[in-house]
């Protein structure tokens, strides 16, 4: 029962969120946002702060006004038991799909970069076993690990800026004209497919000790999120240009593959991969924590840690069934998944807020 009562701080939750979105951002920002906003893509994360602030405002209001512990309780209270549970069920299915997607991306990324002749299933089993061990334990441990890893990640980002900034070509990110305003605004939509994950994080609301201090940490969240996004855009589109980046599946990885330190140290991409694998591990683990908790709420259970075993097995099969190759996977993300994420991550909480206002619950 102890595992059920362990808690993390709101700061740790935000750290987990920022680290988790790092991996999908390297795919979505340079490729999909770059396709729309072209050389002005670096403005997308800066402008995305405004709707993101609105989303945080909505979530903060939902929690402070209803005084309920987690988002699933809020949805059930606002939408009613039947619709609320249907929404929960949709989230369970969707988050399992997301876990399968990220497990597959993780395995595909490794087999298409450095472990070319290795079986994909080996990497899937490895990451799922790691996740299994983490999710069966207290979320507190995971939160602390992420807090520690955050410092390593920050050092890694700063090194990336130092190494990559000299290679950024100004014609790849400039000029910016008034004609870019429209595309930049449109490119916020796919970006919100990733930023909407913050809503999913609040399903762990009752595992967060100081939710009332949410406002104190929002500035740090906006800053770190924008910093991370702009660094990713600069390193990919700034160096390769939006046209080439659009055709590359692993543009961020290719940048690291070319790095040579003082013409002596080469192959630093292995260090990059080590750092990057943890971001994949973070997103898979936190989604697993969320889905297990949602299943627990859906069936009104006392404990949830035993449910990890069947969910892990479903994810393992699902990750193989989801697509045949990396191309299909990216098509699926681009055309369908990002928009469903926007629906569940942004539109549902905003609708809950509006309905809550009408019903005078919020």
């Amino acid at each position: 029962m102890d595992n059920e009562n362990s808690k993390i701080s709101i700061r740790q939750l935000f750290i987990i969120f920022v680290i988790s979105i790092a991996s999908p951002l390297t795919r979505v920002l340079p490729k999909y946002c770059g396709e729309i906003a072209k050389q002005a893509t670096w403005l997308t994360p800066i402008l995305a702060i405004i709707p993101f602030m609105l989303l945080i405002y909505v979530l903060n209001n939902l929690f402070t006004k209803t005084k309920l512990g987690s988002l699933e309780d809020i949805y059930i209270k606002i939408f009613g038991k039947i619709i609320g549970k249907t929404v929960l069920f949709m989230h369970i299915i969707w988050i399992i799909t997301m876990i399968a997607l990220y497990v597959r991306y993780f395995a595909d990324r490794l087999t298409s970069s450095i472990f070319i002749f290795s079986p994909m299933q080996f990497f899937m089993i490895t990451i799922l076993l790691m996740t299994y061990l983490v999710v069966r334990n207290k979320i507190e441990y995971f939160g602390r690990f992420m807090e520690l890893y955050n410092k390593i990640f920050l050092i890694f980002l700063i090194i990336s800026i130092f190494v990559g900034l000299s290679d950024v070509k100004l014609p790849n990110i400039l000029p910016i004209t008034t004609y870019d305003i429209g595309p930049v605004f449109i490119s916020i939509v796919p970006l919100f497919g990733i930023l909407g994950y913050i809503t999913f994080m609040f399903f762990l609301g009752d595992k967060v000790a100081n939710k009332d201090k949410l406002k104190n940490y929002t500035k740090q969240l906006y800053l770190s999120m924008t910093f991370l996004s702009v660094v990713i855009v600069m390193i990919t589109i700034g160096i390769f240009g939006y046209k080439l980046t659009g055709n590359l599946n692993l543009s961020f990885f290719i940048f690291f593959k070319d790095i040579e330190i003082l013409s002596i140290i080469e192959r630093v991409e292995s260090i990059f991969l080590c750092v990057w694998i943890v971001t994949d591990f973070a997103i898979i683990s936190i989604f697993m924590f969320i889905v297990v908790k949602l299943i627990k709420k859906f069936f009104n259970l006392n404990t949830s840690k035993e449910l990890v075993t069947p969910v892990i097995f479903i994810v393992y099969v699902y990750a193989q069934y989801i697509a045949s190759n990396l191309f299909e996977l990216s098509m699926l993300s681009k055309n369908i998944f990002l928009y469903i994420n926007v629906g569940l991550g942004c539109i549902i909480p905003i609708s809950a807020f509006i309905i809550g206002k009408i019903r005078k619950i919020v």
Binding site: L329, M331, L332
Partner: protein
């Protein structure tokens, strides 16, 4: 697959014993239900009952061109 199945069977048996010892019937039912879903899904995938991947099914369903 064999390795993963072995892990799955071991962990499932341990969890079932824990739940039986705890006399948590509701949790046990949900656990068995989810395990059956997992097994059914695995049979569906490994016995080649499917012809296309999920992406191909969705793309055919919504007429999306790759």
């Amino acid at each position: 697959m064999l390795l993963f199945s072995a892990f799955f069977i071991c962990f499932t048996v341990i969890d079932i014993i824990t739940l039986i010892k705890r006399k948590d019937r509701k949790n046990l039912m949900v656990f068995i239900g989810l395990s059956l879903v997992a097994i059914a899904f695995a049979i569906f995938y490994y016995s080649d009952m499917h012809r296309d991947s999920l992406v191909e099914v969705i793309f055919k369903l919504f007429n999306i061109e790759e």
